[in-house]
Structure formats: structure tokens, C-alpha cells
């Protein structure tokens, strides 16, 4: 009985001998797939963070000068220095909290460089008045200055 029992046991094991392999393979595949999905999602998240949050974290801008009424009565310029470690693109200029249109659209400014941001403001710049200029980057970083015309 013992042997029989033992033989039965071995027989049963032998009968199930394929299943563990398959199940192990299935488990491996499932594990790899699951971890691949997790890894992919996480890697994608990291890439997004690197592209956005980390870049935003490294973004620094400073307004060096404002030139009023350049070329035409409404067109003016702001000289912006990229003092951060990521490239910057200005997407909005505001004068006294009123939006001004950037013409032409600003290019990216690479770290360590500076550039004029040209914009058109519909209001008038009156002599001896103080104006607030606000520049907003595509990542939402704000630079602000007050200038007297």
C-alpha cells in the first residue's frame, strides 16, 4: 500500500507534470507583462515628469529691459534673459494685467541666452506713467517688472 500509495502519488505528480511548467510559464508571462505594463507606465510618467515638472523646476527668467513703442505706437518689446537650466518659451505678455499679443510668436530661449519678446499692446504708453509687465512661459513660470515710460 505504501508503495502503491507512493506509486499513485508519483503517478499523480506525473500526470500533473506538464501543468507546473505551463503554469510557471504562464506566471512568468503574466509577471513580465504586468511588470512591463507597470514599468512602461512608470517610465512614461517619469518621462513626462522630466519633460514638464523637472523642466519647470529648472526654469528661471528675468526681464532686463522694456522698450516702449518700438517702430510703431503700439509695438513694444521686453528683453528676457533665460537664467535657468531649461529652455523657455513665452506664450503670454500682459500689460497692466491686460493681455497683449506676442508678434511674432516667441521662439524657445535656451539656457544662458536672452532675446527680445515683441508684443503689440492696444493701449497707449503715456510718459511718466508706470506700467506692469507680466510674462508667462508655456510652463506657467511668471516674470514681472514695473517700468516707467
Amino acid at each position: 500500500m505504501f508503495k502503491l500509495a507512493g506509486a499513485r502519488t508519483r503517478f499523480r505528480r506525473c500526470n500533473r507534470a506538464v501543468e507546473p511548467i505551463i503554469s510557471a510559464l504562464v506566471l512568468i508571462v503574466i509577471t513580465v507583462l504586468a511588470f512591463s505594463l507597470v514599468y512602461g507606465a512608470y517610465s512614461n510618467w517619469i518621462n513626462v515628469q522630466r519633460r514638464d515638472s523637472l523642466m519647470e523646476m529648472q526654469e528661471r527668467i528675468a526681464i532686463e529691459a522694456v522698450q516702449f513703442n518700438w517702430n510703431s505706437p503700439q509695438k513694444s518689446s521686453v528683453y528676457l534673459a533665460n537664467i535657468g537650466k531649461s529652455q523657455v518659451k513665452i506664450i503670454q505678455v500682459m500689460v497692466n494685467q491686460s493681455s497683449a499679443s506676442i508678434t511674432p510668436p516667441a521662439d524657445y530661449i535656451i539656457p544662458g541666452n536672452s532675446a527680445w519678446i515683441n508684443f503689440t499692446y492696444t493701449g497707449d504708453f503715456l510718459a511718466d506713467n508706470i506700467y506692469q509687465f507680466t510674462l508667462i512661459s508655456e510652463r506657467g513660470i511668471i516674470a514681472e517688472t514695473f517700468e516707467k515710460r
Binding site: A24, L27, V32, F35, Y39, S43, Q49, E64, Q67, K85
Partner: protein, 544 residues
């Protein structure tokens, strides 16, 4: 078989573990990257915050170039990358890139730009650092500044006078004035001849809160006695100037003359003349002890003494100011009125005057008494002072008193021999009053001679009742003082009547309390002998 099956399950676990480990490594690496980025940017921000470059001065040199002096007041080395010059007048921009211009903490650098600046324009100078900090400096040709002129108020003709023009930039916006060129004009022009100055001729830069001093030396020619100085600076805003008046005189200011401010401790008298000696009428007398020093003096006694005649009736003496301490003595050959302190001397504060006044009846012997000497005396903590006057009396004479009144409508109610606390540069009317307190008429016109001291201005008098306007003459004398002469309309001043002459004058601009005397003489051309005349020394205290 058991071992085989365990081995197969171990592979899956190992793969899972590896993948999990890879994920964990990735997480740790990214966390490390985030932490590193945060640390780096924090350092960038801290360094930017610690950086402080200041433009200590910026000015346009005589060659038209901009001179820039900068100091790094921060704790990190600053890399200056760009200079901005904004022409605020014409809205033009210039920028220049610095090349490897580093300033160590605490260090200073000077930079002379190659730009040619045009004078008379407003400029904003900016220096940008690599960290994005901006140092600014505003240069303007002019702001509304505080201007002062300092010069001695009275100057001897032929001597030099030093004039200091001070200009203070009190602009609250922090603008600095560049190329400050002083301007001082003299009116009338020939009265002062410029010998030296201005020194310096210009100042490159006058930062906000600072003052510049320009020294001029002029020679006083005497072409004009009241000289107006107008001080300003080139490009000054309209109305930004200072005026000062100085006075030229031919008389040594150290001399004791009535047309100058009182420089020495002294006693002045106001003496009536003529005197009605028969009818025992009251006459009014004044003794002004003047203290022009910056220390208090004390008066122990004063006296009015007729040294060779007995004109005062001792029993009729009435002390007016002070009311006590008075006594009178008389013999056949002299008489006197005395005031004694009784152990409590009167203190006269610095730069002020005390006026002793009394009234007394004249009790002269009947008959003609011509120009009997009158001594005015005072004993003070600084010595005894004596002045001589004269008066005349007779039984047929009126009693003519001379004083100032503050109430011309009732001129006998207030008799004043000194005016105090008169403001500097203040125009007001002075009421010179002649009062016949006798019982005889004065059968003559009254001529008034009023000497207004040097430094006073705008002396004038309108036509007024009782006085002959055509006879009136107001002239500024060669020494800078003024002389008013005027004659009464009527050839008689009845007993008990008054005649008030009003003139206006502006007190000098004084920077410290100054004492002047208005010397007034009333004489009677129709009276013989016309040598006799009433005399008033009215002391005027002018305060800043």
C-alpha cells in the same frame, strides 16, 4: 521531481524580483534626479538672492563718456553680462555686453563706456548679471532741488563778499543729477563784480540726498545798495531757484550808526522837545537798553538827567515800564529821573531790548531854555552806557513828544519805543506819532526825518491826511539805508493834538534775531531857533 518543480517556481520569482528591482531602481534614480535638480535650483536661487551688485555712481564725464562705478555688496561673485542705457528722453535703447567682467564680493569696478552721451537728457542705466539681477541708476539733468544762498547781509563797498550757493538733491525717486552747473545772477548787475568762482564750476554727479556747494567771490562796487542774488542751476525746472538780498554800504559796519543793525550793547533815548515849562504838562520819555549779544544781561539802574537845568517836577513822576523803582531829584541846577533795581535787576535775554518809560511834568524855570543837555544812562552787568541828547523849554512852548503807536486811531493810548518779535522779511505799517501834550500850540509845520536801517526794503508811504504828499521823499541812501522826509500840511499843531505818519517797510531776511533802530527826528522849520527837535530811537527786534 520536487526539486524540478521548485526550480521552475523560482524562475518566476526571480524574474519578478528583477523586474521589481528594476522598477525600484528607476524610482530611486528618478527621486535622486528630482532631489538633485531641486538642490541645484535651490543653490541657484540662493546664489541669486545673495548676489547684490550696486551702481554706486554713474555720471557723464566731461568728454561725454559714461563712467560707471559698481560694487558687489553680495556674498557671491557676480558676473556682469550686460549694460543697458535707456535714453528716457527720446525712448532709445543701447545695450553692451560685458566680456568676463566678474566682481568678487566686496570688490569695486569702474567702467567707462564708449557711448557718447548727450547732456540734458534723462538716462536710466542698468547692469544685468548672469544670475538675472539688475542694478539700476537714474541720471537726470535736473530735478526740483533745494537751493540756498548764503552771504553776509551787509557788505562794505570795495570789499569782497563770498557767496555760497548750495544745491541739495532731495528727490524722493532716487534720481541723481548729472553735470550740475550752478548759475548765480546778480541784480543790478554792476553792483557786484565776480572775482572768483564758482568753485567748483560744475559737479559731475549729485546723488539723491546729497548737497553741492559752489563758492563765488564778488567785489562790492556800490552801484546798487540792495542787491538781489538769484541762484539756480542749468536745466533746473521752472521756478526752482532761490533769491537772497544783500546790502552794500559805504559805512564800516563796526561803526555806531543809526542805520545799521545794533551790534553793541547800548542805551538809546527817546527825548521830547520842545517842552512847555509853564503849564506843568506831562511829557513822555523812553530809555531802551539793547542787548544784541547771545547772552543775558542785567540792568541795575537807568537815568535821564538834565545836567544843567531843573526841568523835571519830581513829585509828578509816573513810572510806566516798569511801574516801580523810579525816583526823581531836582536842584536849582540839575534834575534827573532815576530807576533803581532795588536788589532785583531786570534781565534782558539775548538779542532783545528792554524799554524803560516814564512820564513826568516839566517844571522848568520860566523863561527860555535852549538845548539843555540830557544824558541817558544805564548801568548793566556789562558796564555803564551814556548817550547825550538835548531839549528846549519855555513857558510859551508846546510839549512835543515822539513815539510809535500800534493804534493810530487812538494814538495817545499806546506809546511805544520798541517793537519786538517782528518777523523776518515781513512788511508792515509803522505809525510815527507826534503828540503835543502841552497847552501851547506849535506854530510851525512839523518835518519828520525817518532813517530806516540798511537791509530794510520796500519802504513806501501813501498820501495821508495831515501830511504834504508832494513834500514827501523816500530815498535809499548811498549806505543802503532809507531816508524818509515829509512835512505836515498844517503850519500849526494845536495843543492836545496828534499827528500820525504811516509808512510801510519790509524787514530784512535775517537768519538770527537782529535788532535795528528807527531813528526819527521831528523838527519845526517855522520855529526859531529850529535847532531843537524831538528824537525817537525806536528799537525793532526782527526775528527769523
Amino acid at each position: 521531481m520536487r526539486n524540478v518543480s521548485r526550480c521552475k517556481r523560482g524562475q518566476a520569482s526571480a524574474i519578478g524580483a528583477v523586474l521589481f528591482l528594476a522598477l525600484a531602481v528607476l524610482m530611486v534614480a528618478f527621486s535622486q534626479e528630482v532631489f538633485q535638480t531641486q538642490t541645484t535650483m535651490n543653490e541657484v536661487d540662493v546664489e541669486r538672492f545673495q548676489e547684490k551688485v550696486v551702481i554706486t555712481s554713474a555720471y557723464i564725464a566731461s568728454d561725454g563718456k559714461l563712467v560707471l562705478n559698481m560694487t558687489n555688496q553680495g556674498s557671491v561673485t557676480a558676473n556682469l553680462v550686460r549694460l543697458w542705457v535707456v535714453d528716457l528722453t527720446d525712448n532709445q535703447f543701447f545695450s553692451f555686453n560685458f566680456v568676463n567682467l566678474y566682481i568678487q564680493p566686496g570688490a569695486r569696478v569702474s567702467n567707462v563706456s564708449s557711448i557718447n552721451f548727450e547732456l540734458g537728457k534723462r538716462y536710466s542705466i542698468r547692469v544685468a548679471t548672469e544670475r538675472g539681477n539688475i542694478a539700476s541708476y537714474n541720471l537726470v539733468p535736473a530735478v526740483h532741488a533745494r537751493i540756498n544762498i548764503q552771504a553776509s547781509s551787509t557788505n562794505l563797498i570795495g570789499n569782497n563778499v563770498t557767496v555760497v550757493l548750495s544745491i541739495t538733491n532731495n528727490d524722493t525717486s532716487g534720481n541723481s543729477i548729472y553735470n550740475l552747473v550752478p548759475q548765480l545772477t546778480v541784480s543790478p548787475g554792476p553792483s557786484l563784480i565776480l572775482k572768483e568762482g564758482p568753485a567748483p564750476s560744475r559737479v559731475d554727479l549729485l546723488p539723491a540726498g546729497s548737497s553741492a556747494y559752489f563758492v563765488y567771490v564778488y567785489k562790492v562796487t556800490g552801484s546798487g545798495f540792495t542787491i538781489t542774488l538769484n541762484g539756480t542751476f542749468q536745466n533746473a525746472p521752472e521756478g526752482n531757484y532761490a533769491l537772497a538780498k544783500i546790502y552794500a554800504t559805504a559805512i564800516d559796519v563796526t561803526a555806531e550808526v543809526t542805520t545799521m543793525p545794533v551790534f553793541h550793547l547800548d542805551a538809546f533815548g527817546s527825548v521830547p522837545a520842545l517842552l512847555d515849562s509853564q503849564n506843568n504838562v506831562y511829557t513822555y520819555w523812553g530809555v531802551s537798553v539793547v542787548n544784541p549779544y547771545n547772552r543775558t544781561i542785567k540792568v541795575f539802574s537807568t537815568a535821564v538827567i538834565a545836567t544843567s537845568s531843573a526841568i523835571f517836577a519830581p513829585g509828578t513822576l509816573v513810572g510806566v515800564n516798569p511801574t516801580t523803582g523810579w525816583s526823581a531829584r531836582s536842584t536849582s541846577i540839575f534834575s534827573g529821573v532815576f530807576w533803581d533795581d532795588g536788589g532785583s535787576p531786570i534781565s534782558i535775554p539775548p538779542f532783545s531790548v528792554y524799554n524803560f518809560t516814564f512820564r513826568i511834568q516839566v517844571d522848568a524855570p520860566a523863561g527860555f531854555l535852549l538845548e539843555t543837555p540830557i544824558n541817558i544812562e544805564a548801568v548793566t552787568t556789562e558796564g555803564k552806557f551814556i548817550k547825550n541828547y538835548a531839549t528846549s523849554s519855555d513857558g510859551t512852548y508846546p510839549a512835543i513828544n515822539l513815539y510809535l503807536t500800534k493804534t493810530p486811531s487812538n494814538p495817545t493810548a499806546s506809546k511805544t519805543y520798541a517793537l519786538t518779535e517782528v518777523p523776518s522779511s515781513f512788511t508792515q505799517t509803522y505809525n510815527v506819532t507826534i503828540y503835543n501834550s502841552g497847552r501851547n500850540d506849535l506854530n510851525s509845520k512839523v518835518n519828520l526825518l525817518i532813517r530806516v536801517p540798511v537791509g530794510w526794503a520796500d519802504v513806501s508811504a501813501a498820501s495821508q491826511t495831515g501830511w504834504s504828499f508832494p513834500s514827501q521823499s523816500i530815498t535809499q541812501q548811498e549806505d543802503g539805508s532809507w531816508l524818509i522826509t515829509v512835512e505836515s500840511s498844517s503850519s500849526m499843531l494845536a495843543d492836545g493834538t496828534t499827528l500820525v505818519y504811516q509808512f510801510t517797510a519790509t524787514t530784512p531776511a535775517v537768519t538770527y534775531t537782529t535788532l535795528y533802530t528807527l531813528a526819527v527826528t521831528a523838527y519845526y522849520p517855522g520855529f526859531s531857533p529850529s535847532i531843537t527837535a524831538a528824537y525817537l530811537s525806536a528799537v525793532i527786534q526782527v526775528v527769523p
